[in-house]
Amino acid sequence: MSAWFGSVDPLYGAGPLTLAIFLIVVIRLVAAFSVLMGAVIIMIWFERKTISDMQSRIGPQRWGPFGLLQTLADGIKLILKEDLIPAEADRFVFKLAPYLVVLPAFITFAIVPIGGTLTIAGHPVQLQAANPPMGILLLLAMSGISVYGVMLAGWSSGSKYPLLSAVRASAQMISYEAALGMTIVTIVLATGSLSMHDIVASQAHGIWHWNLIRLGVVPFVVFLIAITAELNRPPFDVVEAESELVGGFHTEYSSFRFAIFFLAEYMNTITMSAIMVTLFFGGPAGWIPNISHLRWVFPILWFLAKTVVFAFCYVWFRASLPRLRYDQLMDLGWKRLIPLSLGWMLVVAGFLISRAWGFIMATAVLVAWTMLTRAFELGHRRERGVASVLPVVGERPVPGEVLRAITDADEEE
């Protein structure tokens, strides 16, 4: 048993479980939690400040230097507000839903390695709250559970807009999860392990070993788009489309429960930036100067820097891109990303066996891609015709001359 634990985390492998190890584990968890909470506060500030800069505004400025304490002030305000539960709500589920969103957000962060290995009191300590052997699957499982949170929140509100939002959320998250999973499979194939620690370790030998370059840029692009959709962030924020659904699934939430949703959203943003860095950019890998006692700091700094870049990217998306229409969203997910990630996965798998298999796979994928494109084209043309179920906006469902014949006949009578 001890050997198995040791293979998961060197902390348990050294000997019997002592109080010191227990304390280290507790401290590590508390540290991860507080880092994430602090990061959320800074992330919200960062997003508001950056987007205001991009819109030529000033942004938060009143609380603390540069408005840094604005998030804290907002949090206090939200906690002090009245906690409303609508009369039509399913009270138990209504109260449960926020936690179903926030817990997965935190648990996902627990598997992210934010630095190398430290030695504390003779024990090797990985800077990672937990390193389960199924690592990356936990990410998929947790994003699956957070769909439940959103869905139940929308449904239990007993109100129409949240319900619509919940339906959208479930459909959107499930469709993009497929592309997401396929991309992760590509990485797992290349790494040969599900553990986040191993994924990072396999990329540690320089920039050419990063999955971004090793797997071609396509999986990264697919992953970036899919994860943005998973996060319900702009331009994929149809779930919370303010112009259509008031506030989306959390319309009926107020006070601290609303704050929890808000918290979870930003936690997820940070976590997913971190995951992206871990999967494609080597996590904490980077140049380390030869300073004897500070060597452990630099991986953390590298990790932070890379994560901030992606956090900035999300804000940048929000400032630059208009929201996708719901059908465009589904088109992008099912018709583009899923075939693309599936095809790329097959090609990568082929090249992992041998070069010959790789080229065979590439040819097969190309043929399939051409056929798929043709099929979409045909389908698209059919959509435009008279037989389409829903009339296309701006076009008459009945051709002009037919319509004219009908109306003329009426007049003659």
């Binding site: 950056t50 800069d53 991009m54 819109q55 030529s56 505004r57 000033i58 400025q61 940048w316 400032a319 630059s320 891109l321």
Partner: protein, 252 residues
């Protein structure tokens, strides 16, 4: 290809905005300069010798579309007259819960006794406070509006108070441009003429722009001014923009 370039053009635009100067100001700390013709709360003007200009004729009350002005005139006491002439405004009240700042009272006043300052930053906690009486409206001995404690006056904001009455020249007669219309309105100078008032208008000083020059693309082709057509227009516009850009850089 073109559409994909546009796609990244959007990202470039938002990124470039990071470096551009902000449009908004942090308002209560920093204020924007007010427009030259802004309508704010009224002042009751006085002559240089301290006499009130108001003669209690109630024309302002009569013309007021929302009935926010209440005036009662009284015969001047012979031994210590309040205004030159026969009568003076004994009661003068303006209810700012009703006032829409249309400036019709200013147009109607035969003696330019009532003009508007640019002050709009005042608030009340009960209805009675919203009624300004003569005690609040009357200008001080220098001719400046009173800086009431619940109003947010800043340095220099009171300087242009009588200004727009001067610039419009009563009765709309352009030949009065630049002429002091009434005996020494306390504290204020003569302002440059604006668009539509005179041939000698000064657009830079008054901050006015002719719509015809600003929006030439909204006009019929034959209505576009000659200097806004073709290559000449491009050259002119580029020249116009240059000093403005330099100015905005200096400010930031």
């Amino acid at each position: 290809m073109a559409s994909s370039l546009n796609f990244f053009g959007g990202f470039k635009l938002t990124f470039l905005h990071l470096t551009r100067p902000r449009v908004t100001t942090s308002y209560p700390q920093a204020k924007r300069p007010k427009q030259p013709r802004q309508h704010g709360r009224h002042v009751l003007n006085r002559y240089e010798d301290g006499m009130e200009k108001c003669i209690g004729c109630e024309l302002c009350a009569g013309v007021c579309p929302v009935n926010c002005i209440y005036v009662r005139g009284l015969d001047n006491p012979p031994d210590h007259p309040v205004s030159p002439g026969e009568r003076y405004g004994y009661v003068y009240e303006i209810n700012y819960l009703r006032c829409i700042h249309c400036d019709l009272c200013v147009e109607a006043c035969p003696t330019q006794a009532i003009t508007e300052s640019k002050m709009f930053e005042f608030s009340f906690t009960n209805r009675a406070d919203a009624i300004y009486t003569k005690a609040e409206l009357l200008v001080d001995d220098q001719g400046f509006p009173q800086r009431l404690p619940w109003e947010d006056w800043r340095e220099g904001e009171a300087d242009m108070t009588g200004g727009w009455m001067r610039a419009t020249s009563p009765a709309g007669d352009a030949s009065f441009e630049g002429v002091v219309q009434w005996t020494a309105d306390l504290g204020f100078g003569v302002r440059a003429a604006e668009a539509g008032q005179s041939e000698n208008r000064d657009d830079v000083a008054t901050g006015s722009k002719q719509l015809r020059n600003v929006f030439p693309r909204h006009l019929q082709p034959e209505d576009v001014p000659l200097d806004q057509r073709g290559l000449q227009a491009k050259f002119n516009n580029a020249r116009k923009k240059m000093p403005r850009r330099r100015r905005s850089r200096d400010r930031s």
